[in-house]
């Protein structure tokens, strides 16, 4: 019995250490999306996008372009718990290369320890979800953010 337990325990311990080595957090699409969908109601599930976030040596932006139907009511839900370092979510009416774009939402307005956000919108044709990825002190950290879109049936 001992002959099996010792190697198993050693390997388990080492793999746990390895997961901390680069700051990687397991991105479980199913778990994260199911959690996000709980915040959609009464909106119906439309689509979702899991974005892999790689922390770099300087601040970077990952953008998701979201086409919408004008006049429809939408809810945006974000699940951010699989991120080793805080990432801000900003939603704009134009892409990150455009001048004079308007900020529609920022997760800064929410409590800093909050890992789930929601934002409702209507009368917009396209929005751009920007993940503002802070610089990492050392090495490469990775994580995932889930964005989910719901639409309202009238």
């Amino acid at each position: 019995m001992k002959t099996i337990i010792i190697p198993i325990l050693t390997l388990t311990f080492i793999f746990i250490l390895m997961s901390f080595q680069t700051g990687n957090i397991l991105c479980n699409a199913k778990e994260m999306k199911e959690k996000a969908s709980a915040l959609l109601d009464p909106y119906k599930y439309d689509s979702s996008e899991m974005t892999k976030i790689l922390y770099k040596t300087k601040e970077s932006v990952k953008e998701v372009e979201v086409p919408l139907f004008i006049g429809e009511k939408y809810r945006f839900v974000f699940e951010m718990e699989a991120l080793p370092k805080h990432v801000e979510v900003q939603i704009y009416n134009k892409d990150k290369n455009s001048k004079n774009r308007k900020l529609l939402f920022s997760s800064k307005e929410s409590a800093s320890d909050k890992k789930e956000f929601q934002f409702d919108v209507t009368r917009v044709r396209t929005v751009y979800v920007d993940y503002i990825v802070p610089q990492a002190e050392a090495g490469a950290y990775t994580g995932c953010a889930v964005f989910m879109l719901g639409y309202r049936l009238k």
Binding site: A29, K52, E65, E72
Partner: protein
């Protein structure tokens, strides 16, 4: 004895540590040489090419497209959806499976929002069959889907909820199977089928509201092209598909009222814009040709 037992896992773990360390170093070096470029995440396959792009695209589901189209007052024409018996015909390339999974998803949504419940059930079965060729079985098998469908037949809200739940499970499977490019192809297929249905109904009815809804759907061509381009090296048929959608997009932008709005950088209001049947003709032919190519 204990030392021997510990030696094997420690050596194995050390080797793994070294390999992980190299990745980290590589990432750091790449980061230093190319500060603005994206670093590859080692476990991400080619299939998930969009993961490493700075920009990705979240495209609408077939259900939402069908819902918006239904609000235009368009009726149901039973001959428009693709033949349900054709599913086995598409068990060839990944491209055929993916785009036709999208085609059948759009047909399911079209039937559902027109309260054609028996047809909806049959198209759900078609989606399940073609989904199995794509490794999506689990999304359709969970929670006794067929029984739940029967139980809720004629209850709109419950059925929409059920199909939305299948949609979400399918999206999760695409994510887990590293098939984001297949998801984009499926959405392109669903979009083409929805456009085809809208074109046929518009051609028959010449209804302004249906035209407006058709124009709204056409505005999705640009994000779909961009999403396909970020996955263009995944399947051999993708460049030709991009060319076909670009042709439709060009013809759409050549419509005088559209090009005028684009030139003035004005928002296109599909409800008030004035477009003649003749101006729509060329584009409608291209949509029909693309749909015919997809389902053949």
């Amino acid at each position: 004895m204990t030392i021997k037992l510990l030696a094997i896992p420690i050596i194995a773990a050390s080797l793994t540590f070294f390999s992980c360390g190299t990745n980290s170093e590589d990432q750091k070096n790449q980061s230093a040489e190319e500060p603005d470029s994206t670093v590859n995440i080692p476990d991400v396959a080619l299939a998930a090419a969009t993961d490493d792009n700075e920009i990705s695209y979240n495209l609408p589901s077939p259900l939402q497209i069908a819902y918006v189209f239904k609000k235009s007052g368009a009726g149901f024409i039973s001959t428009l959806p693709n033949n349900k018996a054709n599913t086995t015909k598409y068990n060839t390339s990944n491209y055929k499976k993916a785009v036709n999974f999208g085609v059948y998803s759009a047909d399911l949504a079209y039937c559902l929002f027109n309260k054609k419940y028996q047809e909806s059930k049959e198209y759900l079965k078609a989606c399940k069959d073609i989904g199995s060729y794509l490794g999506l079985d689990k999304a359709f098998e969970s929670e006794n889907m067929a029984q739940r469908f029967d139980k809720n037949i004629s209850n709109d809200d419950s059925l929409i909820k059920l199909v939305s739940s299948v949609q979400m499970k399918t999206d999760i499977m695409f994510e887990e199977n590293k098939q984001k490019h297949i998801k984009v192809l499926a959405i392109a297929g669903a979009w083409t089928e929805s456009l085809y249905i809208a074109c046929e109904i518009y051609t028959k009815d010449k209804n302004k509201k249906i035209q407006a809804s058709l124009l709204e759907q056409l505005l999705l061509s640009e994000p779909i092209i961009k999403a396909l381009k970020s996955n263009k090296n995944t399947e051999v048929e993708v460049p030709a598909l991009i060319a076909s959608i670009e042709k439709i997009n060009t013809e759409f932008n050549m419509i005088p009222a559209i090009s005028s709005a684009v030139e003035k950088d004005e928002e296109i209001d599909s409800n008030t814009i004035s477009i003649t049947d003749n101006e729509m003709r060329l584009m409608i032919e291209s949509i029909k040709a693309l749909r015919a190519e997809m389902i053949k």
